[in-house]
């Protein structure tokens, strides 16, 4: 916000114009203080306590010492490693599937108009309004053996070898992809709408084919929204609980399910803590990509 900008119609904004710069800085800090305090007390403080807990050990004398034993124990537990690799694998597959579905839909929505694209846009937003647990039970009825899909395939095509993804790893991918479509399409269409029409028209005028426009102009210009969609989807899928719990196999488990079970059902809170820290670290690396991209955009735009 530039205080020396044109006088606004709004009285409030006009008042900002009169603030001296140090007061404005103070106001800025004051405004971020509240969310910052909430973050510090409710997330960062307890999270660092947990991290500290997993990194220390009781000495026989009653003191604390640095120790990586908890982490060694995690990586020495075959089930834990299997679950971690499984979670990463499912996450990568789901994110790719989401891109493969989301990108064509967003391109279609960007470049067409009419009743059909309205309906498609609406349908792609629909999962946003459905709670995960409802979606999970609906998918069980739809995808399960003797479910609707099974019966349709049988009735229409006489297909009998239907293998239901329900309670298999594929069930998690289908469920999470369904849940993630809305956000993916929202982010990608937002990115696409920032590509100015004249640019595309110019390219067309000088004889660029649609494919060339797509590869040379659209994709480079929407790199950032692609990155944001990738990272946000990764975070949502990697930490998912409801869908993997209800649609996935009993083993291997996604980290969300595994952590909850270790904490509540197996009553092993310190192990759950280690699992959580490892999950958090992986998510942290990915969120760093997201934050970096957003900050770079701000810097470029001079905000």
């Amino acid at each position: 916000m530039t205080p020396s900008g044109p006088k606004s119609l709004f009285a409030g904004q006009a008042a900002f114009g009169g603030l001296s710069s140090w007061r404005q800085v103070a106001l800025g800090y004051l405004l971020v203080a509240l969310p910052l305090v909430v973050m510090l007390t409710l997330i960062i403080y307890p999270a660092s306590l947990s991290v500290f807990d997993t990194l220390t050990d009781q000495t026989p004398a009653g003191g604390l010492r640095f120790s990586l034993d908890d982490y060694r124990a995690f990586f020495d537990t075959p089930l834990a490693v299997t679950n971690l690799i499984f979670s990463l694998r499912i996450t990568v597959i789901t994110v790719i599937v989401l891109m493969l579905i989301g990108l064509p839909i967003s391109l279609f929505l960007r470049f067409t108009q009419g009743r059909l694209s309205d309906i498609i846009q609406m349908l792609s937003m629909f999962p946003l309004f459905v709670p995960g647990i409802i979606a999970a039970y609906a998918l069980i009825r739809f995808l399960g053996n003797h479910g609707w899909l099974d019966r349709f395939l049988h009735l229409l095509f006489g297909y009998e070898d239907f293998v239901s993804p329900y309670l298999r790893p594929a069930g998690i991918v289908v469920g999470l992809a369904w849940e993630g479509i809305s956000v993916t399409v929202l982010i990608l269409t937002a990115g696409l709408s920032q590509i100015p029409d004249p640019l595309l028209e110019t390219a067309q005028d000088v004889g660029a084919s649609r494919l060339q426009i797509f590869w040379r102009i659209v994709i480079p210009l929407m790199q950032r929204s692609l990155l944001i969609a990738l990272t946000l989807n990764f975070l949502a899928v990697f930490g998912a609980f409801t869908i993997p719990y209800l649609l996935g196999p009993a083993s291997p488990e996604m980290m969300g399910v595994y952590m909850r079970r270790t904490f509540y059902d197996a009553n092993l809170p310190s192990r759950a803590q280690v699992q959580a820290v490892i999950t958090f670290l992986i998510s942290g690396v990915v969120s760093l990509l997201y934050v970096r991209s957003v900050v770079r955009q701000r810097v470029e735009e001079g905000i």
């Binding site: 298999r168 196999p249 079970r261």
Partner: protein, 428 residues
């Protein structure tokens, strides 16, 4: 070629979508009943229920009105934390935190909770000790219900897990396998398992026809696994008492060595049996999550036999949710464990007195009769204290032998099942 850059969803299209979404959310309905803006003398008791919805419905529709009518001045606020919620665990964690800071825990009564959790809660005195002095009706509670109690909980309703099978489907399976004549109309009794060894044989004689759910997701799975544990331990439920656990492992978090030891000494035989039948289970070991996902397999004609809670079975059958010729059986050598659901009361409850009044009410003959009539459970007090016509009405399901398996062993059992039974299924 035009490039429309601005897109808007027409409002008339969005509106029905929004209504549907709101409808879905309302149907999901995890909204706790609002605390009443009661007259000042009314004491509101916050009751947290993590059991399945048949139990929370029973509380809302039967127990609440009856309790409030017989105990004026008290009002129950029922909060359901189960069915997709995270259960009573987080509420207990909050109560423990509140105990340390001296705050109001916002919870007065846990419909079911294991007082050994959260870790350390027992030592700092989170749970109210229950004696005949503060809950007089405890005197009427039978021994088998008290056996699993720690003295800091109120066992108030028993239930058992049954085997439910679809007789029509079994008949079909037997005919297709050439076990009986094509015109037979009844299932010969030798094809219905009566004890554990017969059940194990049955499961592999009819591959894909039996399933039990993951043990930590519903009692129907938990009690089946527990029964396997008993089988591997000489059918001796007394090995798994609260005292035996406390003596061997205390109340601290288990170490890796202890976990290995428990599995070695107590559970390995059970894991062997369960692994042996695994290839014979439905869809090569599809362990569903939760009782409704499991019951669906029976309802949708995918399996012949499942494990099911007695109370849910009776309720589902009376609602016509199960296949018409569904039969229930109990193992004769040692029943599938049921056990007693136990309530706990946090000592820092702001209405401790009211919570104890509620506990006493739950052990009264009228509430215990409701346990039998409404939810098809077993009373925690002696049948002698209940009306004699009740005994006649429910003669078929009465058993004094609901063997119990102390809650303290469960955590290690769940962990063991996930470590030794679930992983070796290939489900790509």
């Amino acid at each position: 070629m035009p490039f429309p850059s601005q897109r808007r969803i027409p409002l008339y299209l969005l509106l029905p979508l929004l209504l549907i979404a709101i409808g879905f959310n309302a149907a999901c309905g995890a909204v706790p009943e609002a605390g009443p803006s009661a007259a000042p003398e009314t004491v509101v008791i916050d009751v947290y229920i993590e059991s399945d919805t048949n139990i929370s419905d029973w509380w809302s529709n039967d127990l609440k009105p009856d309790f409030e009518a017989t105990n004026p001045g008290y009002e129950l606020n029922i909060i359901h934390t189960g069915g997709g919620g995270s259960g009573n665990g987080p509420i207990a964690d909050r109560a423990l935190a509140a105990l340390e800071t001296g705050d109001d825990p916002g919870a007065d009564y846990f419909e079911t909770f294991n007082p050994l959790r959260p870790i350390g809660a027992m030592e700092v005195g989170l749970w109210q000790e229950i004696t005949v002095d503060n809950v007089p009706n405890l005197a009427g509670v039978i021994d088998s219900a008290m056996r699993s109690s720690t003295g800091f909980d109120i066992p108030y309703r028993g239930s058992q897990v049954l085997l439910a099978y679809n007789e029509d489907r079994l008949l079909q399976v037997l005919k297709e396998g050439g076990h009986i004549d094509a015109d037979a109309e009844e299932v010969p009794s030798e094809f219905v398992p009566a004890n554990w060894p017969e059940l194990m044989t049955w499961v592999c004689a009819f591959p894909g026809e039996f399933i039990y759910p993951r043990p930590d997701t519903t009692g129907a799975g938990r009690e089946f696994v527990t029964r396997a544990v008993f089988q591997a331990n000489g059918l001796d439920p007394s090995r798994f008492s609260t005292e035996a656990y406390a003596a061997a492992y205390g109340s601290e978090e288990l170490t890796a060595d202890q976990i290995a030891e428990i599995n070695e000494i107590y559970f390995s035989g059970a894991w062997d049996q369960l692994n042996e039948i695994e290839p014979c289970l439905y869809d090569n070991g599809t362990y569903p999550a939760g009782s409704s996902a499991e019951t669906r397999l029976l309802v949708d004609d995918l399996v012949t036999m499942i494990t099911i809670w007695s109370d849910q079975a009776l309720q589902a059958k009376s609602l016509g949710l199960l296949p018409p010729n569904t039969r229930f059986i109990q193992l004769e050598d040692l029943p599938l464990v049921g056990g007693y659901a136990s309530s706990t009361i946090p000592t820092n409850s702001s209405d401790l007195e009211g919570a104890l009044v509620l506990a006493n009410y739950l052990l009264s003959p009228s509430a215990q009769e409701s346990v039998v009539r409404v939810i098809g459970g077993f009373p925690a007090i002696s049948w002698d204290l209940l009306p004699s016509e009740l005994l006649e009405d429910f003669n078929d399901v009465i058993t004094d032998t609901v063997p119990s398996f102390s809650g303290s062993w469960r955590a290690a059992m769940f962990d063991g099942w996930y470590t030794f039974v679930a992983p070796d299924v290939e489900r790509e």
